[in-house]
Amino acid sequence: MSALRLQTLSRAEAAALGAVGLLSFFAIWSFLSLSGLVPHQFLPAPYEVAARFGRLLLAPFAGATLPEHLASSALRFAYGFVLGAVVGIPLGLLMGWFRVLDEIVSPAFDALRFIAPIAWVPFAALWFGTGIGGPILIIFAGAFPPCLINAYRGARFVPRPLIEAAQMLGTSNLRIIVEVLLPASTASIVAGLRVSAGLGWQSLIGAELIVASTGVGFMMVQAQLDASTPTVMSAMVAIGLVGLAIDVALRALEAAVRRRGLA
């Protein structure tokens, strides 16, 4: 009860409270759904969503099964994310090293950054169509800025003595960037990749809601038009799971980087 005792709950107590929290969440949800307080069509019970999820794994909806929709989303995501990293990280490092480049790129970058990634949808559709090119541009718009910013910050905060030692030994600019700045800013870059992945995945879902003919976002819109709430919710669960998997993978990468002592 007392103020910020920073009391450490025992493991058992924390687990019990957590279980109470989760159980009440599902209990309230089920109650609202089954009691009819919320029309059943709009709020199916948790087990109905689970059942629908299971069915969607095998039965096609909106032209493909859930795993197939997820696969096409994941493919787009991979393209856009890799593109964001491949362009953003080197550019960030170069900006961290060459002051002129920083001064030239920064104003334009700062101006563009205020455009929400999703606002690129109309141009993306106009330039690259709604198949795979358009959504990739949106993911890129979401994933690119954190890559650039973190590589830049990483490069800027490399300890001076490291750089000076390299310069004293007559190391070329390119080698300084690749062999000093890049390893020294790896931790920052990987942290940026995690932010990028989150934003990129979320931008992709947004893009697929608006323009796409496959993908899990498209599937959600179709389900919404059918007023099929369980399908919408299943898709949300799937999106959450994939997002979580991406984050877990990048966390593992972060840990691996730290273990190897690159950070």
Partner: protein, 259 residues
């Protein structure tokens, strides 16, 4: 003028010139792909004077701005107290955190179809989605803010018999304030992104509606106007929040260190 801003201005001037040259006299870029400055000017005139996508420009802007601010306030008003509570009480954290972790991986934009199913295409659906989007950063950062307070500060205050209300008002809140504002800034960004997405999916008014109609009409000039408005107002609200932050954190040197 500093060297930095001189180069910045020069860059932007060069880009503007390149835009003009590539679209108008040289015609490297087809007007169906990217608008020329003239196209943008005509589109701007059309939407301000005659209206486009159900309304005049200021009506769209007003509508979007209203929803962003409302949704943001609802999210901050619920998220910050919840984050503070979870930071304050380990019990509350243990109770709420698992549910929070369960819902958090679902990106805010994925709530849009559900919000439309539940609340239709009107304002309440948008506020609900913005709330979901902006809620999470507010909670997480307020929580971190409380947890990063030195326990000795609180112990000292308690030893001196500070009543609870004052403890919250004079220690907890100010000490967590920088982190709270960091969270609010992220929340505000999330609010804009989500609103634009929600309006693109379906709306009657708003900047996203302009983008949506312009996309169907294949009207690059109007797309450009819509995007620029999104950027300008996103920037303006961020500046406003930063100004509030500087004012309310004037007592800490940290405020000056913040960008």
């Amino acid at each position: 003028m500093s060297r930095r801003s001189a180069i910045g201005l020069a860059t932007i001037a060069t880009l503007a010139l390149a835009w003009y040259l590539a679209t108008m006299p040289l015609e490297w870029i087809s007007p169906g792909r990217f608008p020329s400055p003239l196209d943008v000017w005509l589109a701007l005139q059309q939407v301000t004077l005659k209206g486009y996508a159900n309304g005049l420009l200021y009506q769209h802007i007003w509508h979007s701005l209203k929803l962003v601010v409302l949704g943001f306030l609802v999210a901050a008003g619920t998220g910050v107290p919840l984050g503070l509570l979870m930071g304050w009480s380990a019990r509350a954290e243990a109770l709420i955190n698992p549910v929070f972790l369960l819902i958090r991986p679902i990106p805010p934009l994925a709530w849009i179809p559900l919000a439309i199913l539940w609340l239709g295409l009107g304002d309440s659906a948008k506020i609900m989605v913005i709330w979901f989007a902006a809620f999470v950063p507010s909670v997480i950062n307020s929580f971190t803010g409380v947890r990063s307070i030195e326990p000795s500060v609180i112990e000292a205050a308690r030893m001196l018999g500070t009543p609870r209300g004052r403890l919250v008002r004079e220690i907890l809140f100010p000490a967590a304030a920088p982190m709270i504002f960091t969270g609010l800034r992220l929340s505000l960004q999330a609010s804009w992104t989500t609103l634009v997405a929600a309006e693109l999916v379906g709306a009657i008014y708003g900047l996203g509606k302009i983008l949506n109609v312009a996309q169907t009409d294949l009207y690059p000039g109007m797309i450009f106007v819509g995007m620029t408005c999104v950027a300008i107002f996103g920037w303006a609200t961020t500046r406003l929040l930063a100004a509030i932050e500087t004012r309310s954190l004037a007592w800490t040197q940290l405020a000056e260190a913040l960008p």
